[in-house]
């Protein structure tokens, strides 16, 4: 089961990264990044489950929050809002 989850996650990361690399505009890359962060947030929770370490949930939560603000900052930067 775990391997199936891992496979999907890896595939998801793969496509998101591919879009990030391909672009073509900055926005596309940021969208890809935004996506990746969400995948990672979920992925970290999953990882915590796999390793049976509660602390990973903390990590995931914090990661989610920080990446949200990060993406928002980039978005604001894009529109000249900084």
């Amino acid at each position: 089961m775990i391997y199936i989850y891992a496979a999907f996650i890896i595939l998801a990361v793969f496509f998101a990264v591919l879009r990030g690399l391909l672009g073509p505009t900055t926005s596309d890359r940021v969208v890809a990044l935004d996506n990746l962060t969400t995948i990672s947030t979920a992925g970290l929770v999953l990882l915590g489950f796999v390793f049976q370490r509660f602390i990973y949930i903390d990590v995931s939560l914090i990661y989610g929050v920080l990446s949200f603000v990060g993406v928002l900052t980039i978005a604001r930067y894009l529109e000249g809002g900084l």
Partner: protein, 113 residues
């Protein structure tokens, strides 16, 4: 193994940026990449096969299942230091841009010889 090589490659890539890129911001980014390379190296040094985070948050966790906590502690410190240096660098760049109206390092050399 791959972590070692990757971290050194990161350091080299960062240094390349510092040595070659003309834009001050890119140079600072290069410095950050260098920092990150070193941090990764430290973490890799502390890595133990199948080791888990060195936190005894539940019963039954044994020290020998854990990675070395020292490099992690060091990296924590190093990250903060890197952050501080980056912040100062950026503020200097703001000043430089005010005075020179350029970010090209080749044009910012009033002090020489």
């Amino acid at each position: 193994m791959i972590y070692y090589i990757t971290s050194i490659l990161l350091v080299l890539i960062g240094m390349y940026a510092v040595l070659v890129k003309k834009n001050l911001i890119k140079i600072v980014i290069g410095l950050s990449i260098v920092d990150n390379g070193i941090h990764l190296l430290l973490i890799a040094i502390g890595y133990v096969k199948n080791g888990t985070a060195p936190i005894f948050s539940k019963a039954g966790l044994q020290p020998n299942q854990m990675v070395d906590p020292v490099p992690q502690a060091l990296v924590l410190t190093a990250i903060v230091i890197g952050l501080a240096v980056t912040a100062v660098a950026l503020s200097l760049i703001i000043r430089l841009y005010d005075h020179h109206k350029t970010l090209n390092i080749n044009k910012i050399r009033k002090l020489k010889w």
